[in-house]
């Protein structure tokens, strides 16, 4: 295979110079970013855009509200899922406190993805058989109705991917107006996590006669609960 130094010095010679050793200057550009004049609107607009993409969402202030919203969305389904499959509700190792207490109140047992099985293939097949994947989120983007999750040892990328339903909890304080704010904070982390997933609504495709179809590979139903305490 081509040696990196040769490869780069060939490129440099095409540019009429020798391999540069100092970084090029910062690129001078300006784009007018979407900013909300009243940050109070952020949750509402985020939710509106999320719903427009086909997701369900709600803003909650208390555990009671969370419980009643979950009941409204899922009814008694989770109890019947659990009868057939004790690991039907799969979650990250830890969720926001309000979420954890709501699930104990409802008596819907959460299986933790990272501990679901020692072998990765087994973990994947457990996640694929689960009915609902539950995650937190690190940021939300109001403009595009997007939730952003970082990977880590206590989480798992498959939780928001393999089950047919994905439910995310996000604190209102984590919402931002636009993508650039999120990327700025990612940069500030120094070294980014191994995966950052930005999720805007359910899985979709228009590949057959441009006809929109939901849920081709990823989750078919997506839910978000904004915690505004």
């Amino acid at each position: 295979m081509t040696n990196a130094n040769d490869f780069i010095s060939q490129l440099a010679s095409k540019l009429g110079r020798s391999t540069p050793t100092v970084p090029p200057p910062l690129i001078d550009f300006h784009v007018p970013q979407y900013r909300l004049s009243n940050p109070g609107e952020r949750s509402t607009i985020f939710l509106h855009n999320w719903q427009e993409l086909g997701g369900k969402g709600v803003i909650v202030k208390t555990e009671d509200q969370t419980v009643s919203c979950l009941k409204e969305w899922f009814g008694d389904l989770p109890l019947s899922w659990i009868k057939d499959n004790p690991q039907a509700i799969l979650a990250w190792d830890s969720l926001p406190t309000l979420a954890e207490t709501a699930f104990s109140t409802l008596n819907w047992p959460l299986a933790r993805y990272t501990m679901a099985a020692p072998d990765p293939r087994e973990r994947y097949s457990i996640a694929a058989q689960a009915e609902l994947g539950i995650t937190g989120a690190d940021w939300g983007i109001a403009l595009s109705g997007t939730i952003v999750t970082n990977s880590s040892a206590q989480r798992g990328r498959a939780v928001s991917l393999l089950p047919p339903r994905h439910l995310a909890f996000i604190e209102a304080s984590k919402l931002r107006d636009n993508l650039s704010e999120v990327l700025e904070e990612v940069s500030a982390l120094g070294s980014p996590p191994s995966a950052i997933e930005m999720i805007s609504g359910p899985s979709r495709t228009s590949d057959i006669e441009m006809d929109l179809s939901i849920g081709v590979h990823g989750p078919i139903e997506v839910y978000v609960i904004v915690i505004d305490t």
């Binding site: 295979m1 694929a128 990977s151 950052i196 999720i199």
Partner: protein
């Protein structure tokens, strides 16, 4: 390798005779274009975003040596194995090697134009490896054994019934051709493949030089599957697909999603900074990044065509092109079709015999340049490519003869006058209603579908001479 046995003319004729194809292409490109306008209008300042995008892309290309070096260092530091491929053959060899080393039988692929450019599936299948395209559109054309007809909607040219017919032998039973049924079939079928995949192969929309991150956008979520489940991941990228940092990535992601499909962001935007940490429970442990040159460095060294490297593969130029909208992607014959395909294919493949027709698949109306989110002067590059082709001597004999004759007459005034007089007499058998409607070849090529104005009774030179006379007499 060729994808077609037919000639350019045969492919164009076939496309023009295919009513579904033309209707579907128009419908799809109208939809995509309309969605794009909605998404760019709501931003309220699209021109500023375009200008920023153009500055960023030009800056990266002009400093590609620096940024590529930085990307290699950053990814290698984290344990990614980087492979630099000068040619498509090199890139194929790298991938085959990795597949063989792992004795992998099941490869799952998300969309990668580089894999099309190097005909990767062909070679993997020859090795007995099952390499499955997991993007719905790519899966359809993989079963059909066809190249993509649009860079964003690869199976645009297929009817739902054709899709159902392609799926039925795999399903082993009849399938109704409604979209939910077809989508559900693919969901179930692909799940098995995803969970079984030994190696995942992905494309790369952007690579972030200062962090060593790979950015992929998909709507279906197959990109996430392919980069989450297999133990080994191979990502293929063209060497120009770089942004310096997350600061510029913001602009490029906005431009790409809005220009390609009119979305604010694609359903899934994945930023990988591989490989996974040893404590994590999913994601690839082993990560290979294959960076392809394939004459991109030649384009870099050619200032005239360097802007072609600015492309972000959004497909916006396809959706406005009057030629593409009439004939669809297959008539081009190349992996990359549409205006940008007509520009880069002759430059990447360096074969005028085979690809010399492409710069002529354009009306030079400039709609492509106007649509381009990074201001590539596509129609201008197409004219310059035509000039290159002519200078290199790859024009048809007849065209060369015509221009020789043209030069002769226009440098011999008296002969020209005589010929015009002769022409005005000889035209009459071909004149209908004051227009020339027929004639011997090569004139008939024009008059088959259009008419020509008659040779004027009084030539311009005569009119000019009379004017001069009149002016003199009135002085």
């Amino acid at each position: 390798m060729t994808m077609y046995n037919s000639s350019v003319d045969q492919r164009v004729d076939a496309a023009l005779a295919n009513n579904f194809l033309r209707q579907a292409t128009r419908r799809a490109t109208d939809r995509l274009r309309h969605n794009k306008y909605k998404a760019t209008d709501e931003l309220g300042s699209w021109e500023e975003w375009r200008n920023a995008g153009a500055s960023i892309r030009s800056h990266v290309i002009e400093n590609l040596d620096y940024y590529l070096q930085q990307l290699i260092q950053q990814t290698e530091k984290r344990g990614v194995q980087v492979h630099l491929a000068k040619t498509p053959e090199d890139a194929v060899a790298v991938v085959r090697d990795i597949v063989q080393k792992h004795d992998a039988k099941n490869v799952i692929k998300s969309k990668s134009m580089i894999s099309e450019e190097i005909y990767l599936n062909h070679f993997l299948q020859a090795d007995g490896v099952l390499s499955v395209e997991t993007d719905l559109g790519e899966y359809i054309i993989q079963i059909a054994g066809e190249p993509p007809s649009h860079i964003i909607v690869p199976a645009m040219h297929k009817t739902r019934q054709q899709v159902a017919d392609l799926f039925e032998p795999i399903a082993g039973h009849t399938l109704s051709s409604d979209t939910p049924t077809l989508t559900r079939f693919v969901r179930v079928r692909m799940r098995e493949q995803f969970l079984r995949g030994d190696i995942g192969i992905t494309g790369c929309n952007f690579a972030v030089a200062n962090t060593g991150s790979i950015v992929m956008v998909t709507n279906e979520g197959n990109g996430r599957m392919v980069s989450t489940l297999p133990r080994v991941q191979i990502t293929l990228m063209g060497m120009e697909r770089i942004v310096p940092s997350f600061r510029e990535l913001d602009v490029m992601l906005n431009l790409l999603a809005r220009s390609a499909t009119g979305q604010r962001l694609s359903s899934y935007t994945t930023i990988l900074t591989p490989p996974r940490q040893s404590t994590e429970s999913d994601g690839p442990e082993e990560f290979h990044l294959v960076i392809l040159d394939h004459n991109r460095s030649e384009i870099l060294g050619d200032k005239t065509f360097r802007p072609a490297l600015n492309c972000i593969r959004c497909g916006a130029c396809f959706n406005v092109c009057p030629v593409y909208r009439q004939i669809g992607g297959h008539a081009y014959g190349s992996v990359y079709s549409g205006p940008i395909g007509s520009v880069i294919t002759p430059l990447l493949e360096k074969n005028w015999e085979k690809w010399g027709h492409l710069p002529f698949f354009s009306s030079l109306c400039g709609a492509c340049s106007e649509a381009c989110p990074v201001h590539i002067p596509l129609h201008d590059l197409l004219v310059k490519l035509r000039a290159r082709k002519t200078i290199s001597g790859h024009t048809p004999q007849i065209e060369q003869q015509i221009f020789k004759a043209y030069r002769y007459f226009f440098t011999h005034e008296k002969t020209l006058r005589r010929a015009l007089r002769l022409g005005s007499r000889l035209q009459f058998p071909f004149v209908r209603n004051g227009r020339i409607t027929g004639g011997p070849p090569p004139l008939s090529n024009w008059t088959k579908s259009r008419t020509l104005p008659m040779v004027a009774p009084k030539s311009f030179m005569q009119v000019w001479a009379d004017l001069k006379l009149n002016r003199k007499s009135s002085e």
